[in-house]
Subunit: 238 residues, 2 copies
């Protein structure tokens, strides 16, 4: 039987948005003499959105968009030393230790005993691989898939490559838009484990009802039980 | 029989260093009032080297390193408008049309008829996928593998994933360091098709002699003949 369980990485296995939020705090402080918080937020988000097609996801693209926005918001008056600080902030994020979410280490160890697990994540290629290395979780995963977009086509290609039918795939993640909706659309199952922060560009409305295939939980420690339930429902159907 | 032929992308399938070289020309012009060419080249290369571990390969990392170097070389005197120009140069590179090397289109079409082909490339995830899309070559490839380093471990993992033994793998590329040496070390075969420019960080000495496994050619159009020779030598051994 070739079931596969996919795990999102940032904000599902380890903290990420909290690091971004702290950096963004310092970013706003840097621009506080020029613009109010709302303007800084709105302009940066617009720059990130505009650049997404070229840059994709991740820290390097964020840093470039943050510099571009700072120049725009200060009408070219921001100093080179301050831009150097923005570059340093980006490098700090890339060098940041990996801080696992509660319950992740023991839950993954339990699941890896019985199931094939893979990481499926967006972001900078090297950064995401490095975080998996640093996390101490790498041995639990059969593969680490860094993808440039988490849409139906990406999941379909990935499942084909792993020789898994969509109905034998279960995805665990914090993002309704990236981890839940495309997988449900393909016929797979999902466990939604929300994180307390979310990047605005990753926002989506709640998913449609999908009985037996959509499992909202509060804590990753609930995943093994959900997996057992999902698999036993599948064997009942046979 | 499960043979696999890997193709490097930048400077093997399409022009890349020529675009970098033109951008670097404009970069040096921007800093010409502050430092001579040799100093600019040396300092930028040192910054890229220092940041490689954090940034990995690709245009976004190059752009960030170019900004960092410009700030350093001007002692914080470079203006925000000039930094904005550097960001625009990076975006231009990402949006640049894909310009195939001579002979690539017909050679790939010929090979794809009979063999399993994959792209194996470093760089920014989204950028590399976009270039494959734009190239018009995508249908020839079974997979596009963007990796964060082209070393023995990466090739070994990739071959395992594709179910291919090293002795059934042949890699085609312009970089001795990335496309030839690690593949020879694993026991695979290689075709070296040099490009007239090379990034300094991708430099390596000529490979060791590896009879029957290392094929230097001048033009990608020679690859089908090399592949035929390599495969017939393999069946002779059986």
């Amino acid at each position: 039987m070739s079931h596969l369980i996919g795990f999102d990485a940032d904000d599902t296995l380890w903290h990420n948005e909290t690091i971004f939020a702290r950096v963004h705090e310092r970013y706003r402080a840097l621009l506080a003499g020029h613009h109010d918080t709302a303007t800084v937020n709105r302009t940066l988000l617009a720059t990130e959105k505009r650049n997404l097609e070229l840059y994709g996801y991740g820290v390097k693209g964020y840093t470039l968009s943050a510099i571009e926005t700072a120049i725009e918001l200060t009408d070219n008056r921001i100093g080179a030393a301050e831009i150097r600080e923005l570059i340093a902030l980006g490098q700090e994020m890339l060098a940041h230790p990996v801080d696992l979410l509660d319950g992740v280490a023991e839950t993954l160890a339990r699941l890896a005993d019985k199931h094939r697990l893979v990481v499926i994540t967006k972001g900078d290629l090297r950064d995401q691989h490095r975080k998996v290395e640093k996390s101490g979780l790498k041995a639990h995963f059969q593969a680490v898939e860094v993808v440039s977009e988490k849409d139906e086509a990406t999941y379909a290609a990935l499942l084909k490559r792993h020789g898994v039918r969509p109905e034998h795939f279960l995805m665990v993640g914090n993002s309704v838009k990236s981890d839940i909706l495309p997988v449900l659309a393909l016929g797979g199952a999902c466990v939604h484990v929300p994180y307390h922060l979310q990047w605005e560009l990753d926002h989506a409305e709640a998913p449609p009802a999908a009985a037996g295939r959509f499992f909202p939980v509060k804590d990753i420690r609930a995943v093994p039980e959900v997996v057992a339930e999902w698999m036993s429902a599948q064997s009942d159907q046979r």
